[in-house]
Every structure is written in structure tokens, then in C-alpha cells.
């Protein structure tokens, strides 16, 4: 899933300063799963904005709505009957949501209510960890199912650097060295020699280095 974190409420209040009617829009996709932008978080942020308005004698009318997804235009369309009732929209979706809302309703001020962090998963209740860098050409099968691009601080593809110590990365004792894990798993599985195979340099054009990306599926295009 796409993992996001809530923006500080203070920052959101500064963004919407002066507005009298705002709509907080959640998303039932990834941000609901990582507890940052679902219906529950929409209600919490709306409540906090109302309390702040009461506190500072600047009451704000706050609407609440949670869409099925904010990364599909058909769901963004559901805002059309109410969007003009508001001066600003706070989207609690990942970075896609506020952009899709802004593209569909260009006259409305749209604010991001979360900071989008990475593609990852829950490793413990309340803890998420990065697993994918979206490089566009997946090769995790070469590394025992672990991605050194996303999980090595230097995205090294040919073994650990000199900063690996006792299974930890030199950037922080809390960061595991993924190459330490890859090598250990290769040894356990009797596949260490795989690492001797010379591989051509990775083609980074499919990653962000090639500029903004687009995926076209001709069989689905209407």
C-alpha cells in the first residue's frame, strides 16, 4: 500500500486560515489501511478544526466525506454536487487524491492533509516499513525476495557496502542492512553462488530518473 502520515494539525490550520467552509475528504484505499485518511481520521480532523475555530472565535463549517478511492475519476465525480458549498478541500488521500480533485474541480482550493511517504506494508500494529521503490523493473527474485533498491540505503545491487556492521546499516542502528539478510538467506538456501553472476547495469529509465511515468494498457483503453 501507499503509506502516508498525518500532517501536523497546526500546519493544516495555517493552510486553511481565513476559510469559513471546508470539506475534509477521506479515501477508503491505502490511507484507510494505514490509519491516516479513512472515515475515522476525517472525523478526527474535522472535529479538531471545529475545536480550533471555537477556541479562536473563528468558527469554520466543516463537512466530512470519504470516497471509495481518490485515484479514480469516477469516485472524484461524487463530489460534484457539494463541492461548490465549500471554499476549500482538505484531501486525506495520498498525493494522487488532491491532484485528481484539483484537476476535476480547478476552481476549488485543494490542500493535502497528509504527507505521502512510501510504498510499504505493516510490520507490526502501528508500524509500517518501506518495501518498494517503484523502480519499474522488479528484480527481487535475484535477491531472495528482498528489494535492495528500496531497502538498502544506497540501493546497491552487487553486495553490501563497508558500512554494514552486525546486520545494521551505518546510517542508523535501527536500520537493518538488507544485504546482510540477503547474503544470510542465500547461504541458508545454498544459493550464495548466485551473487557471483555478473549482471548488466540496471536500466533506470523505468524509474523516476526517466521523468514522470505513465502506464498504458491498450486492451483496456476505451
Amino acid at each position: 500500500m501507499i503509506v502516508a502520515e498525518a500532517k501536523p494539525i497546526k500546519e493544516i490550520l495555517e493552510m486553511i486560515n481565513g476559510l469559513k467552509r471546508v470539506l475534509v475528504v477521506g479515501c477508503k484505499g491505502c490511507v484507510t489501511v494505514c490509519n491516516v485518511g479513512g472515515a475515522k481520521e476525517v472525523a478526527i480532523l474535522a472535529s479538531a478544526i471545529r475545536i480550533a475555530g471555537k477556541k479562536h472565535h473563528n468558527e469554520v463549517e466543516v463537512g466530512e466525506m470519504t470516497l471509495e478511492r481518490q485515484c479514480d475519476p469516477e469516485f472524484i465525480e461524487e463530489l460534484k454536487d457539494i463541492i461548490n458549498d465549500y471554499e476549500g478541500i482538505i484531501s486525506l488521500a495520498c498525493g494522487v487524491g488532491p491532484q485528481f480533485i484539483s484537476e476535476r474541480y480547478p476552481e476549488v482550493k485543494v490542500f493535502p492533509g497528509v504527507n505521502t511517504k512510501f510504498i510499504g506494508g505493516a510490520v507490526e500494529h502501528g508500524i509500517w516499513s518501506e518495501r518498494c521503490a517503484g523502480c519499474g523493473t522488479c528484480i527481487i527474485h535475484l535477491f531472495e525476495g528482498m528489494c535492495p533498491i528500496a531497502r538498502c540505503s544506497k540501493s546497491l545491487l552487487h553486495g553490501p557496502c563497508g558500512g554494514s556492521s552486525n546486520g545494521k546499516c551505518e546510517i542508523s542502528p535501527e536500520v537493518e542492512c538488507i544485504w546482510d539478510k540477503i547474503v544470510k538467506k542465500k547461504m541458508e538456501n545454498g544459493r550464495l553462488e548466485d551473487l557471483l553472476t555478473l549482471k548488466p547495469p540496471k536500466d533506470w529509465r523505468s524509474a523516476r530518473d526517466g521523468g514522470p511515468r505513465k502506464s498504458v494498457r491498450e486492451e483496456l483503453v476505451i
Binding site: 497546526k10 490550520l13 478526527i44 472535529s47 480550533a52 471555537k54 477556541k55
Partner: protein, 133 residues
């Protein structure tokens, strides 16, 4: 400020804190009518939104009385709540509301006096702070 009658919401669990309340009542100890009591099955059921809503409705303070950390019959309800209260304190602080307007207490079932003394402590603290809004 002398005439300030604070609006306070107190949630209390139906186990330890409720037993303490019953004992306080048998001891003929009573709390101020400024406090509105809400009984809940377990403090672990209280979500962040439940703790913010009273402020939205104009409360000057919210406090919660639950079990001791090692005697919650639902295992860890009070521990979950304490984390949520810490989170609400951070939200209130960012809004410009004193975080001490929300507090959580662990009570012993047999200590009726504590049920009342906590109420007195909260009222005094809120009177010192003044109205939240």
C-alpha cells in the same frame, strides 16, 4: 472568573472505577454537579474522536477513570486509552488548548475516596486554567 462553572465530562469504566464510585456513594461522598459522568464498559473502547467531541461541544475538560494497568479485565484497555490520551493532548496543544484539560487516572476498585478526590483535583485545576473557550 469567580463565577466560572466549568463543564467537565468524566468517562469511567464499569469495572474498577465503577466499583470505586459505588463505594464513594456508600460512604456518602459526593462530587460536584459540574461533572457529567459517562459510564463505559472499558476505557479501551474510547477512541480519539470520543475524547475530542466533548471539547467540540464546549467542554472545559475531559477526564477518564479506568483500571490499574495490570488489572484490566479486557487485558490492556487502560494502556490503549493512555496512548490515545497522549495523542489527544498533542492535538489540543496544536490547537492552542492546554493539554492538561484531558487526563486519565487508574483507580483501585476499593478506593471510593479517590473517585471523589480526583474530581476535586480536576475542578480546581480547570478553575485555575479558566474557560477553555
Amino acid at each position: 472568573m469567580q463565577d466560572f462553572k466549568p463543564k467537565i465530562i468524566a468517562f469511567y469504566c464499569s469495572n474498577c472505577a465503577s466499583s470505586a464510585a459505588t463505594i464513594a456513594s456508600k460512604m456518602k461522598l459526593y462530587m460536584s454537579s459540574d461533572i457529567k459522568l459517562i459510564n463505559i464498559p472499558c476505557t479501551g473502547r474510547l477512541e480519539v474522536l470520543h475524547l475530542l467531541k466533548p471539547f467540540e461541544q464546549g467542554a472545559d475538560a475531559v477526564y477518564i477513570m479506568g483500571c490499574q494497568e495490570d488489572s484490566c479485565q479486557y487485558m490492556n484497555g487502560i494502556l490503549k486509552l493512555k496512548k490515545r490520551v497522549d495523542h489527544v493532548k498533542k492535538i489540543l496543544e496544536q490547537i492552542g488548548i492546554e493539554p492538561q484539560r484531558i487526563e486519565v487516572f487508574s483507580l483501585y476498585a476499593g478506593k471510593g475516596q479517590d473517585f471523589i478526590s480526583i474530581a476535586d483535583r480536576i475542578i480546581n485545576s480547570v478553575k485555575e486554567l479558566g474557560p477553555a473557550f
